[in-house]
């Protein structure tokens, strides 16, 4: 699910579930491809974590706020706080590992 600056508060910061946000750019081919994997994981993890994407050029306010310096950047939020972040495109298994690690912190 692609979100925008104006949705960020509601969809991410006020979310009941933890949220994985992928910051991406249209000029980043690995970001373009990673969306396919995130779609798959979104369904699989839907009860445990929300997965959203946000384009850094179209949504500069959020990108500025979190000082995004490269894409893809992943930040996992829980109760409005960034609890985990990582950079660089990942394989499906690596994304899974990242999610589990972050969820482990919450538990």
């Amino acid at each position: 699910m692609e979100i925008r600056d104006r949705d960020f508060q509601r969809e991410v910061l006020e979310s009941e579930l933890p949220v994985l946000v992928e910051f991406w750019g249209s000029w980043c081919p690995p970001c373009q491809k990673e969306k396919y994997i995130l779609e798959k994981l979104r369904e699989e993890y839907k009860d445990r974590i929300k997965i959203v994407t946000i384009n850094v050029d179209r949504n500069p306010r959020v990108a500025y706020r979190y000082r995004i310096k490269c894409v893809p950047t992943y930040i996992i939020f829980h109760r409005g706080e960034a609890i985990y972040s990582d950079i660089a495109a990942k394989s499906e298994d690596q994304l899974r590992e990242m999610i589990e690690k972050a969820l482990g912190k919450i538990a």
Binding site: D5, G25, S26, W27, C28, P29, P30, C31, Q32, K33, E34, K35, Y36, I37, E39, K40, E43, V56, D57, R58, N59, P60, R61, A63, Y64, I68, K69, C70, V71, A89, K90, S91, E92, D93, Q94
Partner: protein
């Protein structure tokens, strides 16, 4: 009913003025003035076509925008300004007429290098083509199309830049390259000529686009030959590795998704195309230009409705060893009564597409610009065939026209594997751009026989008959290849690998794409879209 590009927005539109409004590279390379404005007012852009809108949020879809009109190929900008480099060529002229018929404002440049090169080799187009002045006049008389033409060599950046400033293109189709592997292998001078013209011409164009029309999309003709034919059997993906490709090494793994796939060009000409690929990829990255790199299969055929409308509108057709593609050469040989020349074992597999289908793909790509900074690749191919299979098909159709055709295997002057696996992925055109191939191989070959058997064309084919059999060896040797075997069609057992064309889509389970998919199915054979 939704057209394939209905959901695209201002971000894809060349009329959206992004430069000066958008802080690309939020990752630390921002322009402070833009940044401050965005912090204050939010992200707002302007429209070059609708200046009265002032500054607005770039969220208008093609379906909603009054400037994008439905056509059977998707929404198309009204009077879209499309510039074709190499407009006098086999593809350039054909596309110019097709776009003109769709209401685009077509402009184009050419320096007639192709005509000159072919004639210097002693050959000529077997379908008569008219001087540009007469072509333009006929386009107006017969199809009511105005084409703005300038005789310009794309290496002359000053003149090309002036013309681009005048036209302000919204899309640029780059056919302005020397398109021949054997021509590049004749000798050092020819290899240098091909690489200089192609690579430097494209590089110069990228700099001009950055300065003059950074929001225009570049549709650049590449070739499937850039990938080669990997003997591992690895599929030829669409330029970039798919999402789930992984590199494993020493117990560790990395995602390859989105990385450029390996290129293994098969001649110095193909090397020039690979170099173009890298230059375009970088330009998109540095300057957020947007481009489709079109990895086109070997093209063949003579027909579109527009070129067939009048003899003066016909596009060129070459059958010599340097500029004639394989199907075009075979048809000419059949008409001459010469056995069709298959190089080596004839088990080489290549991707192919008919002229008419290729033109439709190009229109669809023009109608669906990539996003800012996006370098995208499509494999433009409608079928995979072995060369020997093509010879059999041409022989079969030739028989319908009363020609008794034999096939001959000759020495292979190229350095290529006779037997190899070949698996091609081509999912974007059918699944994201709504393209379905409409011209079966035999149908186009039949059209070719209908045209090329006209007496005045047969006479022209006879004049170049001695130039069909190859004499340009990749080794540098210069001698006509020798015949290894002559056989009758249908008598040779097929061996080797079976090609595989993969057209089903990558996982893309958003409801938006499912909607598009349904619309594509509903469109069927050229149905019209409807706004709202």
């Amino acid at each position: 009913m939704k057209l394939h590009n209905a959901h695209k927005t201002c971000w894809n539109c060349p009329a959206a003025i992004l430069k000066g409004n958008v802080d690309f590279r939020a990752c630390g390379q921002s322009l402070e003035a833009i940044r401050q404005r965005i912090e204050r007012e939010g992200l707002l852009i302007e429209c070059a076509r609708l200046p009265d809108l002032g500054h607005f949020e770039p969220t208008i879809t093609f379906e909603e925008c009054p400037e994008w009109r439905p056509t059977k190929y998707g929404y198309l900008l009204e009077n879209m300004r499309v510039m074709i480099l190499g407009i006098d060529g086999y593809l350039g002229w054909t596309l110019a007429l097709k776009l003109g018929a769709l209401g685009c404002e077509v402009s184009g440049v050419d320096c007639f290098l192709r005509r000159k090169m072919v004639r210097e080799l002693g050959a000529d187009s077997v379908v008569p083509i008219y001087p540009m002045e007469e072509r333009l006049k006929a386009a107006k008389e017969v199809l009511d199309i105005d084409i703005k033409f300038r005789k310009i060599n794309i290496l002359d950046r000053e003149k090309l830049g002036q013309f681009m400033r005048e036209v302000q293109p919204e899309a640029i189709v780059h056919y302005g390259e020397i398109p021949s592997a054997p021509y590049s292998m004749i000798d050092c001078d020819h290899a240098i000529q091909v690489q200089y013209n192609n690579v430097i011409g494209t590089l110069g164009l990228l700099f001009l686009m950055k300065e003059i029309c950074p929001e225009a999309s570049l549709i650049k003709l590449g070739t499937l030959g850039e990938y080669g034919a990997p003997l591992t059997g690895r599929p030829l993906f669409e330029g970039l590795f798919p999402a789930d490709a992984i590199l494993r090494w020493r117990g560790r793994e990395w995602s390859l998704g989105g990385e450029l796939t390996p290129r293994d060009p098969v001649s110095f000409y193909h090397v020039s195309k690979v170099q173009d690929t890298f230059n375009i990829y970088e330009a998109c990255k540095y300057w957020w230009l947007r481009s489709y790199d079109v990895m086109q299969g070997v093209i063949y055929g003579v027909h579109t409705d527009e070129v067939a409308a009048d003899p003066r509108l016909r596009t060129r057709l070459d059958v010599d060893e340097w500029f004639g593609t394989v199907v075009n050469r075979f048809v000419a040989q059949a008409i001459l009564g010469m056995p069709l020349t298959v190089y080596g074992e004839g088990e080489q597999i290549r991707g192919f597409i008919a002229l008419e289908d290729a033109m439709e793909c190009m229109v669809r790509l023009i109608s669906s610009p990539p996003e800012p900074g996006q370098y995208d690749v499509v494999n433009q191919v409608s079928g995979l065939y072995k060369v020997s299979e093509l010879a059999e098909t041409v022989a079969r159709v030739a028989a319908e026209f009363g020609y008794d055709v034999k096939i001959q295997r000759v020495e292979n002057p190229r350095v290529e594997a006779d037997y190899h696996p070949f698996e091609v992925v081509s999912t974007k055109l059918p699944n994201e751009l709504g393209f379905t191939p409409k011209v079966p191989l035999e149908v186009e070959i039949r059209r070719m026989f209908e045209l090329l058997t006209q007496p005045h064309i047969v006479e022209r084919i006879k004049k170049v008959a001695h130039l069909i059999r190859p004499r340009t060896w990749w080794s540098g040797e210069k001698r006509v290849v020798e015949t290894l075997e002559v056989y009758r069609p249908g008598t040779r057992r097929r061996r080797g690998f079976k090609p595989k064309l993969i057209t089903d889509r990558e996982r893309f389970p958003t409801s938006k794409m499912e909607e598009v998919e349904r619309a594509v199915e509903a469109l069927g054979e050229g149905g019209d879209g409807d706004k709202g």
